[in-house]
Symmetry: C2
Subunit: 361 residues, 2 copies
């Protein structure tokens, strides 16, 4: 606070100097250095690149006065340590997928994706015009976090399987790399969920330590070469119809920012959000075509599995609402919103998309 | 240019004054006043509000130094005069739906929507990660316009009809308020397209001067009360699967901006883009429910009409490619992009959305 008061004085001094030069109004702004800890490796260039793009906009918009250095997972803190690091002020900000912190509180997931949840646009609607941002901000207050929406992968793929999955029976005993809420639901369907870092997933699948894994979608999956060690590629990931990423900012760091920088951060995060989604959408098709050309067999997730998973998910959500008041509070709003969104998307959006899907283009 | 050079010098002076005060670095920035001419009335609060939000972010991010006043259609220039006004420098910037300028050059439409085109997300993907922005910037150079993406309505509704539309025969002689490319296609299907300002559409439909009209979607349509003068509400608007709005900036005004302000404008426009889409998505469902409760009959556009319109559209596009090199250049890229997008959205997105659509929520 002292520093800011000083800056205001200094700004006035500069203003007077400018006035003496008969110059137009100026504003004096603080030089700030922040560190952003990402939960992602540089190799996920769509995601990591969006954090870099965010930092670039902040730098450009402030003439280099506000510099945010962007650090890959593990560089400053481990991938799943970024929420703690922001909470403790070890770093000023982070880029993450909030459902990683499901173990702290299941309600983190609403800021990212829950199984059979909202698609990317619906999630943005909840955050930007529904009660999503207000509810998540309230929730994050306990963690000294101020959150922003920064990216969405869109509907993800249901993962890579060494054997064909024809029915619910094929899930029994299946060792699959999948975690959090999706893991809980899968385990009730007989799957044995495994938590394996992304970097070790290929080897685990190759060696048969696991039978299946889920990652993101064609563009990212191709780079990790999963098509070389599993033949069946299922869609969709019913557990992430649109995984939204977040920018976390330590609340004290946020409060100390000049209001100009606050506006810049918010708009820069939204810009990075749109660009990340665009990158996935624009780059997934070519990757998918290459995968199929390489012998990958594309399959829709069998309907009975989708139905069973959906029923199980709703049961899990009811249990969570009964035991976790944070979950219940957000769920009550979110689930009403979801009903409305599904109703509306059934109409113009779906009819348009389905018609286009039926055309030979 | 002189003014900017002066500002740089003045900035240095301020920097020195600051150094004398031992203050952190500051930056001096020009006070700028711009006027934004919107093609829309204030009553379209989702659209007009996004221009206001854009201006607010620019103001906040610059501590009030860069002030953009936002003017409704007709206040400074008529709704369809904003492209000329930007081109001539009458105003520095505008908010518009580029397909309004179809009469100048059909290729404007690619920056907004063409029948059986891209949905909102696909359009953003083309602009932000495909060749869309590059191609449109090149096209707009002839008009002294620098464009930015600022808003999307999502898939629109197919409009209000006094009589049920069961087959292609019911389109013959139908007087419908619809224009531009959609009007061209409709006229080949027997419709008599009418160009009527939005504000007069209600009366025209009430009096039977027209038999049908298209506007936007539930949220906007309800406010104009179309449900009181027509019973049938069709979906989707196959002519706008995602109408993207643009921010137009006069190229000289743009070039004269300090680089900080350029970054701020770009990010603020994207932020307004996301918020506008979110507002439509979040508010359409309740409006649709109220319309249906008021007696509106919701109907999917009959498939034979969709099929005939699609075939006609592709024929029109081939004709345009043969006669308009601007159209051809963009079409070649855009149509390849559309093929890829439709292929990809058939997979995870569509399967996820269709599954959710089938649930009772």
């Amino acid at each position: 606070m002292k520093r800011r008061a000083f800056l205001r004085t200094a700004g006035k001094g500069a203003g007077m100097a400018m006035a003496a030069l008969a110059a137009p109004a100026v504003h004096a702004q603080a030089s700030i250095r922040w560190r952003l800890a990402s939960s992602f490796p540089k190799s996920l260039d769509t995601i990591f690149g969006s954090a870099e793009l965010f930092a670039k906009f902040v730098r450009d918009a402030t003439g280099g006065k506000f510099e945010i250095s962007v650090h890959a997972a593990g560089e400053l803190v481990p991938a799943f340590g970024v929420a703690d690091a922001v909470q403790n002020g070890t770093v000023e900000c982070a880029q993450t997928a909030p459902y990683y912190f499901y173990g702290k509180d299941e309600a983190f997931s609403f800021d990212c994706a829950i199984p059979f949840g909202l698609n990317a646009r619906q999630q943005a609607a909840w955050m930007f015009d529904g009660n999503g941002m207000r509810l998540m901000r309230e929730f994050y207050r306990n963690y000294n976090i101020v959150n922003f929406v920064m990216g969405n992968t869109g509907a993800q793929m249901g993962g890579w399987y060494r054997k064909e999955i024809k029915s619910l029976d094929d899930l029994k005993g299946l060792k699959m790399r999948i975690s959090n809420l999706a893991g809980v639901i899968m385990s009730r369907l007989g799957v044995i969920p495994q938590t394996i870092p992304g970097g070790e997933a290929y080897t685990a699948l190759e060696k048969g330590t696991i039978d299946a894994l889920e990652w993101v979608g064609p563009y990212d999956d191709e780079r990790l070469g999963f098509n070389k060690v599993a033949r069946y590629y299922y869609y969709p990931a019913w557990w992430e119809g649109g995984a939204q990423l977040a920018l976390y900012i330590n609340s004290k760091s946020w409060d100390a920012l000049p209001s100009e920088y606050k506006a810049i951060i918010e708009a820069a995060a939204t810009h990075a959000h749109v660009v990340m989604q665009a990158r996935y959408d624009a780059r997934n098709p070519a990757a998918l075509k290459r995968l199929v050309a390489s012998g990958t067999i594309l399959r829709p997730m069998p309907r009975p599995i989708m139905e069973a998973a959906y029923k199980t998910a709703e049961a899990v959500y009811a249990e969570l609402a009964a035991k976790n008041p944070n979950w219940k509070k957000i769920w009550d709003d979110w689930s009403r919103f979801r009903s409305d969104q599904v109703l509306w998307f059934r109409v113009a959006e779906r009819e348009f998309d389905n018609f286009m899907s039926a055309q030979k283009l």
